[in-house]
Symmetry: C2
């Protein structure tokens, strides 16, 4: 499946090639792959360089941990995402070191994930982020300290064969990628 973004103007292939599949190969990414993804996330910019991003990583070759993290997924996502050989949970630290709330905590987790996605594409990996998981149970299972929010779950691996997906998911896998046109996204500054 080649899901190149149908861009109006050229963008870097690392961005144009990125998409969020549901089919993953069983091939286990190595520790070096995972470290490279985390290293990319680490170098993202953040408000006051607070680096509010945290990560939980579970690999299929540590089956007990992988199963525990997979159990947090919503039923709908578990159908396909439990087969991803690497699962992550992204976490935001809500406050700055001085105790004041960091309004950019989730935003900056998004920036770090932007870096991670590009690095994944660079390594031939695919990534699918999910909002559908049990956040209350994630706080308990992952023993998150006060002031930390579970943000997203992340399925990571090498591209798989969509033919192995259930029918309904295989159809979604083949659907074209769609985005709003730029003129809906760019707001005009009114005349003074």
């Amino acid at each position: 499946v080649e899901k190149l973004a149908r861009t109006k103007v050229a963008i870097d292939p690392l961005l144009a090639r990125r998409w969020s599949p549901r089919a993953f190969s069983s091939r286990q990414p190595g520790a070096d792959h995972v470290d490279s993804l985390l290293e990319a996330a680490r170098w993202a910019p953040s408000c006051f360089n607070a680096q509010p991003w945290r990560f939980v990583v579970a690999r299929a070759d540590e089956p007990e941990r992988h199963a525990r993290v997979a159990s947090l997924l919503s039923d709908k996502n578990r159908r396909w995402a439990a087969a991803a050989p690497v699962l992550m949970v992204t976490i935001a630290r809500r406050d700055f070191d001085n105790g004041k709330p960091n309004a950019y905590a989730w935003h900056d987790v998004g920036l770090a994930m932007g870096n991670l996605l590009t690095q994944a594409t660079s390594l031939g990996l695919v990534v699918h982020q999910m909002a559908g998981f049990d956040k209350d149970r994630a706080r308990v299972e992952l023993a998150l300290p006060d002031g930390y929010d579970p943000v997203a779950m992340v399925a990571i691996g090498f591209p798989g064969d969509p033919a192995e997906l259930p029918d309904d998911l295989r159809e979604r896998e083949a659907a074209p990628r769609v985005r709003k046109p730029l003129d809906e996204l760019v707001l005009r500054v009114p005349s003074p």
Copy 2:
């Protein structure tokens, strides 16, 4: 100034080379540059593909609009960022189309900016995001509809000469880039 991230493991040069400078060249990026940045942002992933990101763009070759947007910057940021030939304001739509709140609105603006940053590096541009600006006045000046949050201001251009910065900023421009070590960012899953 070469500010390559001192990575522990290799990451793509488009990520390692990115940093947030205060010195910008007066060379005006073309409309094609700006379109390419926005196109990259447009193809980011988002929760339910809601694409909550919006952008205001002001170019120095439209001086009246550029000055109005620059006037939103905090005094501290205006010292250097007003010289950036492209200024943006990033904006988050807080709700989904169905009216329910989108907890991922700011997170997904961060994802879109992650794409924009990589595309900027790919084009030889540099980008510096800022939290320091007058958000209340931004809502008025930019006539933001209800349900839209101003998130960050963004200075964009080609790299400039740090020698032209005031002394205190020139020192900060030469400082090494620092990040928390990975073992602080990766949380261990406790044993059950």
